[in-house]
C-alpha cells in the first residue's frame, strides 16, 4: 500500500464527516421539546345506552380465569356486546401489555397492577377516564390515587389489598396485652414484651431491605407525615426529617434484636409464626390463609390496623388492580361501560363472593360477609387510611433504590441520614418521568 503524507489526514477527515452525518441523522430524529403544562384532562363523557360490539379484556391470575363467566350478567344487559376475556399469567403481564402498547395492538380493557399505571399512562397507552363515569368519592382514597398520573385519572380501581399487623393473640395475652398496639411507642413495647415475656425469638418480623421492603417501610413513613413525591409528581421528596425519623425507628427494631436482620426463606415466617418464634409481622390479606395452613388456629392470632405514629391511625400501603381502557381501543365507549359496570357496588360485592378480591368501592363493604366478618373489618378499617405508591413511570426503579438504602441503613453499612440523602440524590438523577 502506498502511504502518502496526506492519507492519515484524509482518513480522519473522512471519519469526522461520517460522524457528523451520523450525529446529524440521529439528532434529526431526536426528542421533541418537552411538553409542559397540564395533562390531557379527563375524556369526554360516555353516551347513554347499551354497550355494543366485541370488548377484548385481559386479566391476570384468578381474575382472568373467572371473569369470563362473571360478565355473563353484563352481556345479558347489553345483548349486542360480546366480552372476550383472555387470561394472562401475572409473570408475563407487564411485558405483554408494554409490547402491546408499543405495537398498537392492545385489547380494549385490561387489569393493570397499580404500580404500572404511571409507566403505561406516560407511554401514551391508556385512555383518560371519561368525565362522570364513576364518582371518585365512592372509592377508597388511596386506591383512587393509584389511577391518577399527573392530574389525570386513567381508569378505576377494581380491587384492593392493604397491609395490617398480624400478631399471636395468645402470646400477646401472655405478655400482658389484651389489645393491639396503637402507636409507634406501643408497637416497640409490644414487640419487646412478646420477646421478653412471651418467649418469642423475634417480637416483630420486618424486612431488612432487599426487594419489596419499601412496602413495609413506606407505611411507617406515611404515618410520620413523609411524602414520596410532590403534589403533581414531578419531583421526589424522599429526603425529609420525617423519612429520617422513620428509618431511625425502623432500624431500631433490628438494633434491639426485635427483628431478624436476614431475609427469611419462603415458608420460614409462617412456620415460625406457628411455633411462636415470630410474635408479629406486617402483611396483606393473603397471609390469613397461609398462617392457618401452617397450623396457627384462628383464635391464636389476630389482625389489627397499623399503629400510627401518635394517636392518629397508621397509614398503610394499598395495592391491587386497576381497570383501564387503552388509547388504541376501537371500542372505547363500550369498553368504558364494562369498566363502569365492574365498579358498581353490588357487582363489586358479587365479585368478592366469586374470587375473594377486596372491593375498591366503599359501599360494597356494607353488606354480606364483608360487613359481618371481624377480621375482614380490620382490612376495611385500614383501607380508610392508605396511600398508594406514586403513579410515576420511574417508581419501580426508585423503589429499588429505597430497598437498597434501607438495607444499608438497617445493617449499619451507612448512617440513616446518609441513606436518606442517598435515596434522594439517586431519585433526583432518575427523575419521576413526568414533566
Amino acid at each position: 500500500m502506498m502511504r502518502t503524507p496526506t492519507s492519515p489526514r484524509r482518513v480522519s477527515r473522512g471519519a469526522v464527516a461520517a460522524l457528523a452525518v451520523a450525529s446529524l441523522t440521529l439528532t434529526g430524529c431526536g426528542r421533541e421539546a418537552a411538553s409542559t403544562g397540564d395533562g390531557p384532562g379527563q375524556g369526554e363523557a360516555v353516551s347513554d345506552g347499551a354497550a355494543t360490539g366485541t370488548i377484548d379484556v385481559w386479566a391476570m391470575g384468578t381474575e382472568g380465569e373467572l371473569l369470563q363467566d362473571f360478565v355473563a350478567d353484563f352481556e345479558k344487559d347489553n345483548p349486542d356486546a360480546d366480552v372476550k376475556v383472555t387470561a394472562v399469567p401475572w409473570d408475563a403481564a407487564h411485558s405483554k401489555i408494554s409490547n402491546a402498547i408499543a405495537a398498537g395492538e392492545t385489547p380494549d380493557v385490561s387489569l393493570i397492577g397499580t404500580t404500572w399505571m404511571g409507566e403505561f399512562a406516560e407511554a401514551g397507552g391508556l385512555d383518560p377516564t371519561p368525565k362522570d363515569l364513576v364518582s371518585e368519592a365512592d372509592f377508597f382514597d388511596g386506591a383512587w390515587g393509584s389511577t391518577v398520573v399527573g392530574d389525570t385519572s386513567y381508569g378505576i380501581p377494581w380491587y384492593v389489598e392493604t397491609r395490617v399487623l398480624y400478631y399471636r393473640a395468645d402470646l400477646a395475652k401472655k405478655a400482658g396485652w389484651d389489645k393491639a398496639p396503637e402507636t409507634w411507642d406501643e408497637l416497640k413495647q409490644f414487640a419487646t414484651d412478646l420477646e421478653k415475656k412471651a418467649g418469642a425469638k423475634y417480637g416483630l418480623n420486618l424486612q431488612p431491605g432487599q426487594t419489596g421492603s419499601w412496602q413495609t417501610v413506606l407505611p411507617f413513613a406515611w404515618s410520620a407525615g413523609a411524602e414520596v413525591t410532590n403534589g403533581d409528581g414531578t419531583e421526589y421528596t424522599l429526603d425529609s426529617p420525617e423519612m429520617t425519623e422513620t428509618l431511625d425507628y425502623y432500624k431500631s427494631f433490628f438494633d434491639e434484636g426485635l427483628s431478624p436482620t436476614r431475609v427469611l426463606d419462603p415458608g420460614e415466617l409462617e412456620t415460625g409464626f406457628a411455633d411462636g418464634s415470630y410474635g408479629a409481622f406486617i402483611s396483606g390479606p393473603w397471609h390469613t390463609g397461609l398462617v392457618e395452613d401452617a397450623g396457627v388456629k384462628p383464635d391464636q392470632y389476630a389482625v389489627a390496623p397499623l399503629p400510627g405514629k401518635d394517636e392518629a391511625p397508621g397509614t398503610s400501603f394499598v395495592g391491587g388492580g386497576d381497570l383501564a381502557v387503552f388509547a388504541d381501543s376501537d371500542n372505547k365507549e363500550s369498553a368504558w361501560k364494562l369498566v363502569q359496570w365492574l365498579g358498581e357496588p353490588d357487582v363489586q360485592s358479587q365479585w368478592y363472593d366469586t374470587v375473594g378480591d377486596l372491593p375498591a368501592v366503599r359501599s360494597a363493604w356494607d353488606t354480606g360477609k364483608l360487613a359481618s366478618d371481624e377480621q375482614l373489618g380490620v382490612f376495611g378499617t385500614q383501607l380508610e387510611t392508605t396511600e398508594a405508591p406514586p403513579a410515576v413511570p420511574s417508581w419501580e426503579e426508585v423503589a429499588a433504590v429505597v430497598d437498597s438504602d434501607v438495607e444499608k441503613a438497617v445493617k449499619g453499612a451507612m448512617p440513616v441520614d446518609e441513606a436518606v440523602k442517598d435515596m434522594q440524590s439517586q431519585a433526583n438523577s432518575i427523575g419521576t418521568g413526568l414533566q
Binding site: 430524529c29 431526536g30 402498547i101 426463606d265 426503579e397
Partner: protein, 330 residues
C-alpha cells in the same frame, strides 16, 4: 500456484487477468492452463449459491445482525421504555451512558463482584476439573459411572440446582449447617453474609461446571502419547514431574479452550444470584448481567444496552489476555 497464475495472465492478456485471479484454484485442480469452469456456468453457480444462502442471510440480518446493531445504536441514545412507540424520537447522547455507568458506584460494585467471581471461579473449576480428569484417566472400573456422575450437574437446570443449593445452605435447618452443628462447628449464614455469599456461589458454580471441563480435559489427556510418559518414567521422573513437564504443556491448547469458555460463562453469571440471593446481601452477589437485567426492567434501554456492551468488551479483553498467556509458543 503463483507461477500458474502469472502464466495465465501473460497468456491470455487483458481478459485473462480477470480469469487468472479468480480461476487460480480451477487451474490447479484441472491441471490445464485454462480457467477450468466456463464463465456462464460459473455465474449460474454463483447465483445458485446466493439463492441457497439467501434464506439464512435474511434471517441472520433480521434476527441477529439487525438487533445487535440496533442495540449498539441504542447504547448511544437516551431511549427509555416510554419511547417504545416512537423509537426514533430519542436523544443522541454519545458515550454519556458509558461514562455514567463507569462512574456509578453500584456498577463499580457489580463489576468488582463479576471480576471476583471469574478470578475465584475459573481457576477453582479448572483445577478441580483437571484433577478429576487425571484421576478418571487412570480409573479402569466404573469409568462410565464416574463420568456420568460428574457430568450430571451440567445437564441439570441451573435454576433447579440453585434452588437445591439454596436449601442446602439455609441458615436454619440447611443440610450444611445441620452437619456443621452436629460436629460442634459454627454455623455461618452462608447466603446472608456479605463475605460468604459470593464464595458460596463460586463453589456451587465450580461444582456444577466441572463436568464440562472434565470431559474436555479427558479428551485432551487421551491425545498425550503414552510413550512420552513411559520414557520419562524410565528416566526416573516422579509423577508430579511428569504431570508438570509433560501433561500440562501438552494440554495447553485444551487448557486454553477450557479457560476461555469458563471465563465467558462466568462473566455472565446471573441465574445463581437471581434465585439464591436476589443480588444481596448489600449487593454482594449482584453481577453485571443482573444489573443489566434490572436496568431493562426499569425501562432504561439505553443504559442497559451500554452495560451489556461493556460486558461484551470485558469478554473480548479477557479472551485476548488468555490467548496471550496460554497461547504463547514454548
Amino acid at each position: 500456484m503463483s507461477a500458474t497464475r502469472s502464466d495465465n495472465a501473460v497468456d491470455t492478456g487483458k481478459s485473462g487477468a480477470r480469469q487468472g485471479s479468480s480461476g487460480s484454484t480451477g487451474s490447479r485442480s484441472s491441471g490445464s492452463g485454462s480457467a477450468g469452469i466456463p464463465a456462464p456456468l460459473r455465474r449460474q453457480q454463483t447465483i445458485a449459491a446466493w439463492v441457497l444462502a439467501l434464506p439464512f442471510m435474511a434471517l441472520f440480518l433480521v434476527f441477529t445482525l439487525g438487533p445487535v446493531l440496533a442495540s449498539l445504536a441504542m447504547s448511544f441514545t437516551d431511549i427509555r421504555r416510554s419511547d417504545v412507540r416512537t423509537p426514533f424520537a430519542v436523544g443522541f447522547v454519545g458515550v454519556d451512558n458509558y461514562l455514567s455507568l463507569l462512574g456509578d458506584s453500584l456498577f463499580q460494585k457489580v463489576m468488582l463482584n463479576t471480576g471476583l467471581y471469574v478470578v475465584l471461579g475459573v481457576p477453582l473449576t479448572m483445577v478441580v476439573a483437571l484433577a478429576a480428569a487425571v484421576g478418571l484417566n487412570r480409573v479402569a472400573r466404573f469409568k462410565g459411572l464416574f463420568r456420568v456422575g460428574y457430568y450430571l450437574p451440567v445437564v441439570t437446570s441451573i435454576v433447579a440446582v440453585s434452588v437445591v443449593w439454596k436449601f442446602l445452605l439455609r441458615t436454619n435447618g440447611g443440610l450444611v449447617n445441620t452437619a456443621l452443628g452436629g460436629l460442634g462447628l459454627p454455623e455461618p449464614a452462608w447466603l446472608d453474609s456479605t463475605s460468604l455469599a459470593l464464595p458460596s456461589l463460586v463453589i456451587m458454580a465450580a461444582w456444577r461446571n466441572l463436568g464440562t471441563l472434565m470431559v474436555i480435559f479427558l479428551a485432551g489427556l487421551q491425545t498425550i502419547p503414552t510413550e512420552v510418559n513411559e520414557a520419562a518414567e524410565v528416566d526416573g521422573a516422579s509423577p508430579w514431574q511428569r504431570f508438570r513437564s509433560i501433561t500440562v504443556p501438552m494440554m495447553k491448547p485444551t487448557l486454553l479452550f477450557g479457560a476461555v469458555i469458563t471465563s465467558i460463562g462466568y462473566l455472565q453469571f446471573f441465574e445463581e444470584a437471581f434465585v439464591m440471593t436476589d443480588g444481596g446481601p448489600l449487593d454482594a452477589t449482584r453481577s453485571v448481567t443482573f444489573f443489566t437485567y434490572d436496568q431493562f426492567g426499569f425501562g432504561n434501554y439505553g443504559t442497559a444496552a451500554a452495560a451489556s456492551y461493556l460486558l461484551f468488551l470485558a469478554v473480548v479483553v479477557l479472551t485476548l489476555v488468555q490467548f496471550k498467556i496460554f497461547g504463547e509458543k514454548d
